[in-house]
């Protein structure tokens, strides 16, 4: 006898289930006039530093919108505690037992890649901010939309302007995180160097839990490169920059952190470390755009400060979903996806567009240069944008085959 048919059991399970999760009870009573949007973030665990701010951004965006198509938006946080397994389980629960179809957010790539499969298989829609290329590459699917750029874009939008600016910087050294994301950045760096006829004088791999980089930096110093390109993410980027600077690397070498989160990392580095270092960023509060001003106003009302990348990113994925629903005129998944393909909207970085082929948001990626402390106009004025580039792999090269 298939277990499926025990509907009685299911029915009985449903009522007390609601008691276990108070926000859910409220939702059950007010389902008709509200729209449930679930957000998957890590509020505890080792990714809490990122997850907390992303969640703020998404939640504030939803509060700012309030409602869409006359339906009140009910923001439901699914805390995965930094565990991709928990994220999948909570999404399963939200979709199969609470009937939620609209999901946003992720705190790391593993979570996004797993959740995007889950949401697609269960007929929902998912807007997220993974860094992994696979998200809109070989693992892409109909349900999934991604706001930040892929590694190809980050590398090309930072390296090319830098090469143009310093045509004499011939020797490049890379320090790379030996994990999927680090390797994606490195592959793209090598491609650009090859195309431009520049010399890759060496690469050092480090592991996901390294904190001591002086050995790698010493190796890099020995090949006296013109540019040190850092291909990793998160705290490890900070540590490499900090230690490279302490070894005097800034004197003869330009340091480029290809994937940076901007303001929060600048604060963690302090102006003395940021000065003269090049950063690649998905968002910068100093870029004046209609969408950016809106984010700034929302965040300002909450924190009294300017938005950082994480808050803006959390805001952006919420915005993409809501703008999509507005354009579609319905919350039905199929027409919503259709409407979002090719949609343009005033996003945090300016006019942003969703590419229909792989559901990648086409937006600027910034090359930034850290300022001296004396040149900072206010406490957040750590860096200036020296190039804003939309550099994307053509859709047929991403490996995305949308079923």
């Amino acid at each position: 006898m298939p277990i499926e048919r025990r509907t009685l059991l299911k029915g009985l399970a449903a009522a007390p289930a609601a008691l276990a999760a108070p926000p859910l009870l409220r939702h059950a009573m007010a389902q008709s006039e509200t729209l449930d949007v679930a957000a998957v973030y890590s509020l505890s665990g080792t990714f809490a530093n990122v997850g907390t701010l992303l969640n703020n951004g998404s939640q504030w965006a939803m509060e700012h919108y309030g409602s869409v198509l006359g339906r009140k938006i009910n923001y439901i946080l699914l805390d995965d505690r930094g565990d991709a397994g928990e994220a999948v389980r909570k999404v399963q629960e939200a979709m199969s037992q609470r009937g939620i179809k609209h999901i946003i957010g992720c705190t790391n790539s593993a979570i996004a890649l797993a959740v995007q499969k889950e949401v697609n298989a269960r007929g929902g829609i998912y807007v997220q901010m993974a860094g992994a290329d696979e998200s809109t590459g070989k693992d892409c699917n109909k349900a999934n939309f991604r706001w930040p750029v892929a590694s190809y874009s980050a590398v090309n939008a930072t390296m090319r302007p830098l090469i143009e600016k310093f045509p004499n910087a011939k020797k490049w050294y890379t320090i790379t995180g030996q994990y999927v994301f680090g390797d994606s950045l490195l592959t793209n760096v090598k491609d650009v160097l090859k195309e431009k006829g520049l010399q890759h004088v060496g690469n050092s791999y480090h592991s996901l839990s390294d904190r001591e980089y002086s050995g790698y930096i010493a190796t890099a110093l020995a090949s006296s490169p013109d540019v040190l390109a850092i291909c990793n993410f998160g705290n490890q980027t900070l540590d490499v920059i900090r230690q490279a600077i302490s070894y005097g690397m800034k004197r003869n070498t330009k340091i480029l952190a290809i994937w940076s989160t901007g303001l929060d990392q600048f604060q963690a580095l302090g102006p003395e470390n940021c000065e003269g270092v090049y950063f690649g960023c998905n968002f910068w509060h100093g870029v004046d755009t209609p969408g950016g001003r809106e984010v700034a106003a929302v965040v300002k009302a909450k924190t009294g400060d300017v938005p950082n990348y994480l808050q803006a990113c959390g805001y952006a994925v919420a915005q993409v979903l809501v703008e999509g629903i507005k354009k579609a005129g319905t919350t039905e998944i199929a027409p919503l996806i259709k409407a979002m393909e090719g949609m343009t909207y005033e996003g945090p970085t300016g006019l942003e567009k969703i590419r229909p082929e792989d559901h990648q948001v086409i937006k600027d990626y910034y090359l930034m240069l850290g300022k001296a402390k004396s040149a900072m106009k206010d406490k957040n004025d750590f860096a200036e944008v020296i190039a804003a580039t939309k550099a994307f792999l053509p859709p047929d090269k991403t490996g995305c085959k949308m079923a």
């Binding site: 277990i3 399970a13 276990a20 509020l43 991709a84 397994g85 389980r89 199969s96 994990y179 999927v180």
Partner: protein, 316 residues
């Protein structure tokens, strides 16, 4: 340890709890509790049975999970063979590592479990072409057939998880009540004396490490099946710590403690995490209190309580 009679009170309580569980919490949460109860059983057997403290049981959970992921996705295995092969394979790995680890005792044994667990994590990252690295292993099937039943809905996954936990629970309980279990107890109480009595202590330890590894591998296998995905956190040091914390909270004196510990940890984190992100502080406080005041864990609290009641009955 529990009395060897069957079915004893512990078994009945556990069975009743497994039946009630999906009525009081959502089915996916219930599955999570059952899967991690299975995982915690592995620690219960090692620590409660043989007095071996391991911070590294997460390694075996991870091996079971990744092995199952690859078997299901790339080798086209069905559900039952996957569970069996993952369990047996993980037990074999644990036996090999165990043969090395039993050469050391006490704190050095603990350090070895930590070292191997760390190496497992770095090996997973290094073999990213096979494991998917930090992105995890995805693309597992989402529907399974087992003995003619379809397993796809949350409730059906719960029935599977609960069934597997039930089997593992009975296995651990029988094992501890067997002559083998008595030798383990003797080793736990006084290793030197057991050795003097002519028992090959190392062999017994290797055996229990292998069985505990197999159980953790089974839990990992189940986790992969349940999620349709292998999260890289499954082989992280943290998962081994979590298993340890769960079994300590529940109490390692009885296999029933594994279920209590898993349920407590899972429900507390679930109920609190969205209200108070620092819920781990509460878990830490509970852990401190238990070590100081109730080394038998929550399960033994229940036992103390029933003991008190019984005494009162006798008085009245």
């Amino acid at each position: 340890m529990d009395t060897p009679r069957f079915p004893n009170v512990t078994t009945l309580i556990v069975a009743a709890a497994m039946i009630v569980l999906p009525f009081v919490v959502p089915a996916t949460l219930a599955s999570q509790i059952a899967i991690f109860a299975t995982a915690a059983l592995s620690v219960t057997l090692l620590l409660g049975g043989a007095g071996l403290l391991s911070f590294g049981q997460g390694l075996y959970l991870g091996i079971g999970a990744y092995a199952s992921g690859l078997l299901l996705r790339d080798a086209g295995f069905a559900l039952l063979p996957t569970l069996l092969v993952a369990t047996a394979g993980t037990a074999a790995v644990a036996a090999v590592l165990g043969a090395v680890m039993v050469r050391r005792q006490g704190i050095y044994f603990v350090m070895l479990t930590l070292a191997f667990a760390q190496m497992g994590y770095f090996a997973m990252l290094a073999a990213k072409d096979v494991t998917g690295g930090e992105n995890g292993l995805s693309g597992l099937p989402r529907r399974f057939d087992l003995f003619g039943a379809t397993i796809a809905s949350p409730l059906s996954f719960y029935v599977l998880s609960a069934g597997v936990f039930g089997l593992a629970f009975l296995a651990v309980q029988r094992l501890l009540a067997s002559p083998f279990g008595s030798v383990l107890t003797a080793i736990r109480e006084n290793e030197g004396r057991s050795e003097a009595m002519g028992y090959n202590v190392r062999l017994y330890k290797i055996a229990v490490i292998a069985v505990a590894g197999g159980i953790a591998g089974l839990a990992g296998s189940l986790h992969a099946v349940f999620l349709g995905f292998v999260p890289p956190t499954d082989v992280d040091l943290e998962v081994g710590q979590r298993m340890l914390v769960m079994s300590i909270i529940g109490g390692v004196g009885s296999p029933g403690g594994a279920l209590v510990g898993s349920a407590f940890y899972t429900l507390v984190s679930e109920a609190l995490s969205e209200l108070w992100a620092r819920w781990m502080a509460l878990i830490a406080l509970v852990l401190i209190a238990l070590v100081l005041f109730l080394p038998g864990g929550l399960w033994s609290a229940g036992r103390h309580l029933t003991g008190l009641l019984r005494r009162r009955d006798a008085d009245g």
